[in-house]
Subunit: 472 residues, 2 copies
């Protein structure tokens, strides 16, 4: 029996409304780890989705903060594939959305079609919903799942997965993962022009808030005082600005002492991948989607691609201190903070970066500035010739797309807990379909495509069905 | 008839409750120019207070934004004194108060006594209420006011008095002010230790918001994008931090090109005043009230006093950009802003400072950063030997306090419109009494003192009565 027998487009269409509704309902049952907002409820809702999709064992796993989920689906198959889910989403505070972010409205977008717009749409509930719809479809076609599944979901991805190791190393979870051929995270891999990129890794990340305060400094005021006192009282906001200024060079690139010592040269294979990618990815549409006119350092397109894969960064996510309302307020603030994220490339590590950031501040006279690290990961890498990657490539090709091979995502995910010791699994993202604006306003995931280069949710579902059968 | 006949402590006590209630009600009728919040209503309320206090002519004067008030009280006296009021108050947004800021509650403070706590308590409604109570007291004692009064009130002091010149140069107002012997603003001059300081001037101020944006810069994103793009997209927040860093030197002192060229050397008379002040003002209690342990640059007490009078500053009032909520948010923000105030000493001017700030940013490669100037004043100076100052000094001495003569306030007020051309009036602050925490949480004004070194509201009222009779 051909693997796709009974799994035709008609089946996906018949189950389309049900799959979209399930996805929308999930957006409405959001959990935000950073705000301690509804995470437990969102965990329970997600567990229900997994049971409905056929997982026989669905277990809430406590961590030192927000719970994870461990689920297994034993299909009596030879091979077992692991799946990584996140059920939490990014905050929306301070963002201007054109639709309410938690209503998961269907919106028509020019040149795209119908999308679900809402927080978590593409990051990551849309792709995850399409994967669950694939399981429903296979069952609906009275077919047996061709592989067993081990699913791990966490509720702290958006705060840097501080307890992902705790989840992975839970004995039952670890034992289950050790039997897997690899792990994948559902993805919406198609860019706006239909291109698909297979990423062989991701940068690591350190998120940290730097706080300068009169109290910790031992200088400056203990509370906000009248700004005329600036003439005779030191200023925590200036202290912070001067400290920040030492973290980057004139071009804004990292200047933290010793930070780049562990950066590996780019391999010839990766250089070749970038050469090919530069020919295939549209610079113009990338610039347009980002709303930028120039690359940093006026880099060429090829260099900009290399930068996002291989250039470590120190980014300011936010600045907040003193008076932040309308107009002015003549105060000398007692405190100011900068929210940073640092992106890491091999062989930089989370541990080493945190240590060097603190040492740098200390040696430059800013040792009083608090470094509140909220989470993060090491970089992760999967070999291009691993079976999972090879199978994935063939699935995309059979769907008519020749994927661009890509050395490393600029964004981060906790793949290192799977690719590193002790598991050493291949770890990829997989899934046709399109969505964008992760972490930004008006995040969306494409449902019904009117763009011939892009598949909608049904096409995404098919790409998961295909992967499971191809792996088996 | 001795001037104080019928104006005894008993009278002030009998009218005490009424004066306190009037003051509390004024705090509740607040207007905040920076927020366009209730300014017109507060203006009307203030006009009612002036009519009640005996001003025969009370006129609302329109400006290009918030209205001022012009009021006259013709007592048939020989001399005319001008009074400057502000009826607006600072915002409270983002501040943590221990009591609601608009309820004007009576609060017991250790070592002080009963205070009214609320926004505007000391800056400036408490002292202004005590002055109005003095007018009520004189009328209540069936006495004629010994001087005529010309009162000018503005509702934009806390946003830098952008239309004070418009008010002063209104023909009827200007004509009335030209007949005056000088102008004073009601004050709570007693420090916590009872000390009174007569300030012969004030620093000028420029308030400005610096905004770095991808749009104006032509680099960086037009909206917030995922922070992984920092590797290839320029960052408006870093652009702002680097621009700010050029505005000050390593010690945090002004480094704006050419800014200090117009700074005059400190005169021998001012140096002598500072020498004497350093012996009389308590360093310890000043540090305690500010919540600081060290002066900037580890200055001596004498130097710290000189600094607050004569050192120009560039202060950060607030920083705001990108994500400012709990935890982190992996975005590359499209915009960031710093709210600054710059304090000016003679012969720096508001105009020249704004010009030099913009020129500096431009020449350092930050010409794209918007400089939104919200208001400000030139420095102001009144001669130590002017009659108004001499009379004031004698009033304080007769109340048992030998005032410290002080060259220049570190804070700012729009005295330059009175002391400069065309009016060239002597301009002072006057009033016994105590209050603190202007612009900060838990602002207060002392009503009933249990500290023998401090007078309460009745003593403040007396100090205004005394000034009026002594001037006549």
């Amino acid at each position: 029996m051909a693997y796709h027998e009974g799994l035709d487009a008609g089946l996906f269409q018949r189950r389309h409304q049900e799959a979209v509704a399930r996805f929308q309902e999930w957006i409405r049952h959001f959990g935000i780890a950073a705000e301690n907002n509804s995470v437990s409820e969102s965990c329970e809702f997600t567990m229900g989705l997994l049971r409905d999709a056929g997982f026989q064992h669905v277990e809430r796993i406590a961590t030192d903060r927000h719970p994870g989920i461990f689920a297994t689906l034993d299909a009596g198959a030879k091979r077992t594939l692991a799946v990584y889910f996140m059920y939490d989403v990014k905050q929306v505070e301070g963002q201007e959305w054109s639709v309410p972010p938690w209503e998961a409205r269907l919106v028509e977008m020019p040149d795209l079609g119908t999308v679900v717009m809402g927080r978590g749409a593409v990051n990551q509930k849309g792709p995850e919903s399409s994967f669950l719809a694939a399981l429903h479809a296979i069952r609906g076609a009275k077919r047996k799942l061709p592989v067993n599944l081990v699913l791990l979901a966490e509720g702290e991805e958006e705060i840097g997965s501080p307890h992902i190791r705790q989840l992975v190393l839970t004995p039952t979870v670890r034992a289950a993962l050790e039997k897997c051929d690899g792990i994948f995270m559902p993805d919406a891999a198609q860019d706006r022009d239909g291109t698909i990129t297979i990423s062989l890794g991701a940068k690591g990340v350190v998120e940290a808030e730097l706080v300068a305060s009169g109290k910790k400094w031992g200088r400056g005021p203990l509370k906000d005082i009248h700004s005329s006192n600036r003439a005779r009282v030191d200023s925590p906001p200036w202290h912070l600005v001067q400290a920040l200024n030492t973290l980057v060079d004139a071009k804004g690139d990292p200047a933290i002492d010793g930070l780049l010592a562990m950066v590996k040269p780019i391999s010839a294979a990766d250089q070749k991948m970038l050469d090919e990618a530069a020919l295939r990815i549209s610079e113009q549409s990338t610039k347009q989607s980002l709303g930028v006119e120039h690359w940093a350092r006026d880099a060429s397109w090829r260099q900009a691609l290399e930068d996002i894969c291989f250039r470590p960064t120190v980014n300011i996510e936010g600045l907040v201190g003193g008076y932040t309302g309308a107009g002015g307020m003549t105060i000398l603030p007692h405190q100011a903070a900068a929210k940073l994220d640092l992106r890491l490339v091999p062989d930089m590590t989370w541990d080493d970066t945190v240590t060097k950031l603190k040492a740098h501040l200390n040696s430059r006279g800013y040792g009083d500035i608090e470094v509140n690290v909220t989470g993060g990961y090491d970089p992760t890498t999967t070999a291009a010739d691993s079976r999972l990657v090879q199978v994935q490539r063939s699935v995309y090709r059979s769907a008519g797309v020749d994927p661009i091979m890509w050395p490393r995502r600029g964004g981060s995910w906790p793949g290192y807990v799977f690719t590193g010791a002790p598991l050493k699994l291949a770890a990829i993202h997989h899934g046709m379909g399109h969505g964008a604006r992760a972490h930004a306003p008006d995040e969306y995931y494409l449902i019904d495509s009117k763009n011939p280069k892009l598949v909608g949710m049904d096409g995404a579902v098919r790409s998961f069905v295909d992967l499971l059968f191809a792996l088996a």
